[in-house]
Symmetry: C2
Subunit: 323 residues, 2 copies
Amino acid sequence: MSSGEFDLISQYFSPLSNQGAPAFGLRDDAAVLTPPEGKDLVFTKDALVAEVHFFSNDPADLVARKAVRVNLSDLAAMGAEPLGYLVALALPKDMQDIEGWVAAFARGLKQDQDEFDWSLFGGDTVSTTGPLMITITAIGTVDPGKALRRNGAQEADDIYVSGTLGDAALGLKCLTKEVVTPDSALINRYHLPQPRLDLGQNLWGIATSVMDISDGLVGDIRHLCALSGLGATIESDLIPVSDEFGKTLESFPLYKKLIWNGGDDYELLFTAPAHVADDIRKISKSLGLDLTKIGRMTKEKAIVIQASNGDNLLQGEQGYRHF
Amino acid sequence: MSSGEFDLISQYFSPLSNQGAPAFGLRDDAAVLTPPEGKDLVFTKDALVAEVHFFSNDPADLVARKAVRVNLSDLAAMGAEPLGYLVALALPKDMQDIEGWVAAFARGLKQDQDEFDWSLFGGDTVSTTGPLMITITAIGTVDPGKALRRNGAQEADDIYVSGTLGDAALGLKCLTKEVVTPDSALINRYHLPQPRLDLGQNLWGIATSVMDISDGLVGDIRHLCALSGLGATIESDLIPVSDEFGKTLESFPLYKKLIWNGGDDYELLFTAPAHVADDIRKISKSLGLDLTKIGRMTKEKAIVIQASNGDNLLQGEQGYRHF
């Protein structure tokens, strides 16, 4: 791209930043932030590549919002509040209508800035011979010492998930036409994850470990298990699914396993001792968000997805690891 | 890449982070930082794409160090000290010897971590069908209200640059064989910029505006000019060049203009009133770093590179803009 095109792009991003500190309308070498008093800062960075994490022909505003929300989901898993973000954008050299795409992308960023009450701190745009790529660095705040961690699960802790699992993965099958009766609610879950920020901010002192589910329940829970030196047994029938998921599954029963190996859920996975079950019910009620107990942490270092007949549904699966 | 490969990669990056806060050995969803008391934080993000900002066959440790230093140069331009950084890496799907490359890349990061006294806060690795790409978010600290800015230049201020210009751009010509008598010092300047952190930290109260030169003197000074509503006249003969540059130029005189349109210099460009010239000489002496006055800010909103005969060498050039 020419320097004129880069100038054009900066015109779309500048209004997303404050004209004063921290970002000075993106006109400086860097942003300068006076940290909010009495807060710790939380940092996370996620990269998304076209045709891997989204499709080139997805609406650019949805791509922006997904990129933002994937990062917000990491903040949610730490119990943090959004503060600001930086974006790096690699645009394909042969891209058609760069200005139109960037305008829509910036519109998506703006929409979610307003929704999540944060602002753009900075960024960079480059051109690439490869696919479009977005990286976002998200910065959040949390009360000192109150960041949620992945590493505190105890033997016999209950395992919970928020919302429903598998929707986004099944939505992806709709987009790729593997499901021939596409459901717009499922597709919407793929395009637009819901970062569980309110939930994360309520789990301090309740949950013993927390993370977000991005790579699928089984792929992710092994991190919790590894850090606590424990295993996990999850009852397959307890994993919460949406009505839309259940309905689509009637015609495509083989996709049931997307609830544990699908990915893109961006729900929170957390562990908690039995004696806080009432607190969790109250949080669920106050947030209007289902929090479902799906299993328990075990001394035996294995991940088991247990069918009602006692079989481990992961036996022979790629996701199965005895570690 | 398989999840096993991603695990492998994380093994190389984990030792670059603290095992406790802020990064918890990269085992959590995000890093948690208690901000250093009485400091502002500075944030910047730069992306580098293979075959644009570096070559795929450049040694991976040098690629890492260049990516780091490009970001450190932005911190230098703000007068900040390095604190920590996040890295996102997109690795080509068809890459040979991923482990070898990542090991060398991590080694380069470590070498510059030690040199610049900061640590890894987090990151992400994805695979791509396109070229290798690196984005780094750099975080620095600065005394409150003492971040250097681009926007304070005054009419008749002197214009200074640190070090010498054009070396990296001519080094690139050596690498691409456009210069058939390659000079290793010039190539080294291309591979390994020297972020002028010490200089930046000494310019508060001296310089009226500061930025780093990444896209070439002319391309970058227009930002200073635009923000101050002024122009700049630079005397071509005053632009400092290295002995190696001068020597190579004897055989390739047409490359002289790389000193103003070459890019990749990562020297600091700053403006200052005449009455601080002595202070600048003292800073130069104490740092052992040449600081050269190359021109002055003008009321007329034009950028002029003036030859000794008074001609504007930018007349008819791509970099020439009358704004």
